[in-house]
C-alpha cells in the first residue's frame, strides 16, 4: 500500500473516530442537575431545542466540508503520481474554473440561507424567552456578594419579607421575577436547567424571569470571574409544588427557634458574645449583622458556604473554626473557640430550622 494511500486511510479513520466521538459525547451529556441539555424550566427547554436545531445543522455542514476536503485530496490518487518537489505547474483550464465558480457561488448562497434560518430561529427563541411575564408574580431580590448569594423574598407587608442565602425555593409552574443587583464586583446568576445567565453589574440593576416546570433541586453557579472564590459561589434552586413552597415560606417568615436545652442556650450565648453577632443576623435575637448571610433558618438549608460543604455537623464545625482552609480568601475570619463552646454553638445552630 503506497505511503499516500496509507495517509488517506489515516485521514478517513481520524474523521470517522471524530464523528463517533461526537455522537458519544452528545448522548452522554444530557443528565445532571447543572446541565444545559436537561431543561427543568420553560426557557431552558426553548434554548435546549434551539441548541439541538443548531447542533444538527452545524454537524451536517462540518461533515460536508470534511467530505469535500478529503475527496479533494484523494482525487489525486487517480491522477499520475507527481514526484515530490517537481517543478511542473498545472495549467488552469477555464471551463473547469467556471464550473468551480458556479459551485462555490451555490455553496455561498446555501450557507447564506442557512445562516439566515439560524438567525430567525434565534430571533423567535429570544422573543419567547423575553415574553415570560406575570402581573403579581413572586419577586426575589438576589444580591451578589463576594462569593455568596443573598436572596430576599419581597412582600407588600414588610414584616413578611424573608431573607435567606444561597438557596432559592420556587413554586413549580409559575413565572418568578428575580431582581439582580451586585454589592461589589460583577457576578453572573446562572441556573443552566432553568434559564441562561444574567450579569449582576454594579450600577445596572436588571431583572430575570424564570419558571420551573419540573419539581427538583437545580444547581447554579456564578459565571463571571469575581475574585478568589469565584469557583465556590454556587447556589441551589429548589422547585417544589405550591403547598410545599408556602409551607417553606411561612416557616422562613417565623422567628428563630427559641433554644430549649441547656446546651442550646449556652450556644446562643456563645453566638451573641463572640464574633458571630458582628456579621450575621438571626431574626428573633439581638443579632442583626448585614455583612454575612442571614442564619435564622440555617439548619434546613441543604448546603453551606455557598455550596462548598453539605449541611452536616462535622463540616459546620470545620467551617466555623477555619473557613480559610475550605474557601481561602473568604471574608469569614478564623475563630479559636474552646471545645464546649463549639459543641454548644453547633447544637444551637442545628436547632435553627
Amino acid at each position: 500500500m503506497s505511503r499516500r494511500a496509507r495517509e488517506h486511510k489515516a485521514w478517513r479513520f481520524n474523521v470517522g473516530a471524530g464523528v463517533i466521538l461526537l455522537m458519544l459525547f452528545a448522548a452522554s451529556g444530557c443528565r445532571g442537575s447543572q446541565n444545559v441539555l436537561n431543561p427543568g424550566g420553560s426557557q431552558a427547554s426553548h434554548i435546549s431545542n434551539l441548541w439541538w436545531f443548531y447542533f444538527w445543522i452545524t454537524v451536517s455542514i462540518y461533515c460536508l466540508v470534511l467530505i469535500f476536503l478529503i475527496s479533494a485530496i484523494i482525487r489525486t490518487t487517480r491522477k499520475p503520481f507527481v514526484p515530490a518537489g517537481s517543478r511542473e505547474v498545472l495549467p488552469t483550464n477555464s471551463d473547469e474554473e467556471r464550473r468551480k465558480t458556479i459551485f462555490i457561488g451555490a455553496a455561498i448562497g446555501l450557507s447564506l440561507a442557512t445562516l439566515f434560518v439560524l438567525f430567525l430561529a434565534d430571533l423567535f427563541t429570544g422573543r419567547s424567552l423575553h415574553s415570560l411575564r406575570a402581573a403579581d408574580a413572586l419577586t426575589i431580590k438576589v444580591t451578589g456578594h463576594q462569593w455568596w448569594w443573598e436572596a430576599v423574598y419581597e412582600d407588600q407587608v414588610a414584616s413578611n419579607q424573608v431573607t435567606t442565602a444561597n438557596e432559592i425555593h420556587l413554586p413549580v409552574g409559575k413565572p418568578v421575577q428575580i431582581k439582580l443587583a451586585s454589592h461589589d464586583v460583577i457576578h453572573s446568576f446562572w441556573v443552566p436547567n432553568l434559564h441562561g445567565k444574567k450579569d449582576l453589574i454594579p450600577g445596572h440593576p436588571t431583572t430575570l424571569w424564570i419558571q420551573a416546570d419540573k419539581a427538583g433541586v437545580y444547581r447554579g453557579q456564578c459565571a463571571e470571574f469575581c475574585g478568589h472564590q469565584h469557583a465556590h459561589m454556587r447556589l441551589l434552586v429548589v422547585a417544589e409544588d405550591e403547598e410545599y413552597f408556602q409551607q417553606w415560606l411561612s416557616r422562613e417568615r417565623s422567628n428563630a427557634h427559641i433554644p430549649e436545652t441547656e446546651n442550646q442556650i449556652h450556644g446562643e450565648k456563645v453566638f451573641l458574645q463572640t464574633t458571630c453577632v458582628m456579621c450575621h443576623a438571626i431574626q428573633g435575637t439581638v443579632a442583626n449583622g448585614k455583612v454575612g448571610p442571614n442564619l435564622t433558618h440555617v439548619a434546613n438549608r441543604r448546603m453551606l458556604a455557598a455550596g462548598r460543604i453539605p449541611n452536616a455537623r462535622g463540616y459546620l464545625a470545620g467551617w466555623i473554626l477555619d473557613p480559610q482552609h475550605l474557601k481561602p480568601g473568604v471574608q469569614m475570619p478564623q475563630h479559636n473557640l474552646s471545645s464546649d463552646q463549639l459543641q454548644a454553638l453547633l447544637d444551637y445552630l442545628e436547632s435553627l430550622n
Partner: protein, 653 residues
Amino acid sequence: MSALVLEQKELNEPLERVALERVWKRPPGFIGWITTTHHKDIAIRYIVTAFIFFALAGILAFFMRLQLSFPENNILGPDRYNQFFTVHGMTMMFLFAVPVMEALGLYFVPLMIGTRNVAFPRMNAFGYYTYLAGGILLYVGLFLNIGPDTGWFSYVPLSGPQFSPGKRVDFWAQMITLTEIAALVGAVEIIVTVFKMRAPGMSLNRLPIFVWAQLITAFMIIFAMPAIMLGSGMLAMDRLTHVSTHFFNPAEGGDALLYQHIFWFFGHPEVYIIFIPATGFVSTIIPVFARRKIFGYTALVLSLISIGFIGFGLWVHHMFATPVPELGQSFFTAASMMIAIPSGIQIFCWIATLWGGKPQMQLPLLFVLGFIALFVLGGLTGVILASVSLDLQVHDTFFVVAHFHYVLIGGAVFPLFAAIYYWFPKWTGRLLDKSLGLWHFWLFFIGFNLTFFPMHQLGLKGMPRRIYTYAYDSGWANLNLLATTGAAIMGISIVLFLINVWRSRHSGVNAGPNPWHSPTLEWATESPPPDYNFVYLPTVQSREPLWDEVSPPVVCGLSNRKRESLITTLMEAAPDHRYELPEDSIWPVILALVVGGGISWAIFDPWAVPISALLTFIVLCFWFWRGNEPASLTHHVQSSEDLQLLKSEANKI
C-alpha cells in the same frame, strides 16, 4: 514618472554584490547585534522571543490543567491559579499571537514585494525592544507575585482600585501599553512598506495574498489598538495614587459597561488580527503544494477586506449576558453570523484550489489540512455562540474556552506551524526533518482534540470559566482528567517540534534557494537571504513571478555606496524616487529602555510620566540628529581605485 523605461545594459553582478555586502554589513560583535536595523534580524528576534513566551505560557497552561485534573485539587491555590490563567491568556494574546504574525509579515513583506528593508528600519528596532520590555515587565511581575490576577480582560470593578489592592492590575495596564506600542509600530511599518516600496510592475492586483493579509491586519491594528490603550490608560488613571479618576466608578457617574465596550471594541478585532495573517499563510502554501495557481484571488482578497470591516462591528457578542438592550443584541447576532460568509468563501476557495491541483502530502500541507478541519469546527461553534439565546447558556463557560482554542490554536497556530515548516529553508537554508515533523503533527492534532473537544461537553454541563477547582459532586472530573492527558500529549509534541528546529538548524537536509518551487519573490534570492535581499531589485509582470516563463527585467542604478531602496507609486508601482535608508543606530534601544522604564516606573509614581516624556524627547533629538549626505559623494562606484579595491575583495571570496 515615466512608464517602465526598458533598455539593455551590461551588469557586473559580482562587483555589485561585493559593494552592497560592504555597505549593508552591520558592525561586528555585540554592538552590531544590538544596533541592527535589518528587517530580517528584527523579525527573527521577534519570532524567537514570541516562541519563548509561547513555551512559558504553555507551561502555565499545563499547571492549570494539573490543578483542574481532580476535584478540590491543591496544586495551585486560588491566588496563584488566578495569576497563572491571567498571565497565560495575556502572554498568548499580546506576547505570542499578534507579535509572531506581525514578525512573519516584517520578515517576508519586504522580500515578497522585492525591496531591501522596511520603510522605517530604526522604528522597527524600537518596536521590538518595546515589545521585549513589555514581556519582561509581565514575567518579572509574575515571578515577584505581582502578576495580574483579574483575567486577560480584567473587568472593572474587580480590577478597580477597591477590589484589586496592590500593583497587580497596574502591571497588566502598563504591559499592554508597551506591547500595543510595538504592535502599532509594526503595523505602520507594514502599511507604508506595502504602499510605497513595491517592486516596479507589482500593481495592487498582483500583490501576493500573504501581503494583502498583512496589509489588512495592519489597518485593523491601526484602528483597534487605540481602544485597548485608552481602556488600560483609563483603568491605570483610575488606580494610580495621586490621579484616581472616576471613569469606572458607578458612584461618581462612571460605568463598568463603558470598560467592557471599550475593551471588546479592541477585543474582537484583536482575534481577527491573529487570524487574518494565518489565512495569508494558507493562501501562500496551498497553491505551492497543489502545484497550481490559487483559485479565486479576487474573492479571497475581497473576503479578507470584508472580514477587516465586519470585524469591528460585532464586539457586543461578548456582552450578551449584560443588560445591553435586546434590539442591539440581535443586531450583533446578525453581524456575528455575517462574518461567517467571508470565512466560508476562503475555505471554499482553498478547497477548490486543492480540488484542481495535485496535492503533495508535505508537512506544510498536512498542517494546513489540520487547520481547515479544526478551524471549520471552531467557526461553527462560533455561529452557535453568535445566537443570543444560546450564548446566554454557554457564555463564560468551558464551551467558549473550547471555541476560542479551536479558532486560535486550530485557526492560527496550525497555519503558523505550516508557515514554519514552509519557510524554514528560507531562514536557514535547511529543511526540517520529515519524520519528526509527522510525529509533531499527529501528536499535536490528537493531543489538541483530546484536550479541547471534551470542553464543549464540560461547558454544556455547566462548568464556568476561570474556576481554580470544582466540587466532587459536579460530575466534571472525568472530562477534566481527559483534557489534562490531552494537554500532556500536546506538550510532548511541542518539545518534539523544538528539538526538530534545534537539530535542523545546522544538520537538516540542504535546501536550495527554492526547494518547494514557489512562485513568490522571496524564493528568488538565496537562503538565508543576504542583508540587502536582492543584488538587483526584481520587477514583476504577473501574480506568480517565479512561475512565469520569461524572467522580467531588473532594477539597476541604485547606489552601492550607501543603503538605498526604490520608492514606487501607490497604485501602479511605477518607479518614483530613490530613498536612502538610515544606518544602524543605538538610539532605538535607548528609546525603548527610556519608554519601557518610564512606563514601568509610572506604576509607582505619576511624576514618572512627565519625566520619562522629557527623556523620550531628548533621546528623539539624538535619534533625529543624523549627519547630512555630503553632496560631493557620487552615489555610484565608478572611480578606478575603488574598482581595484572591490575587484581584489571580489576574487578573495
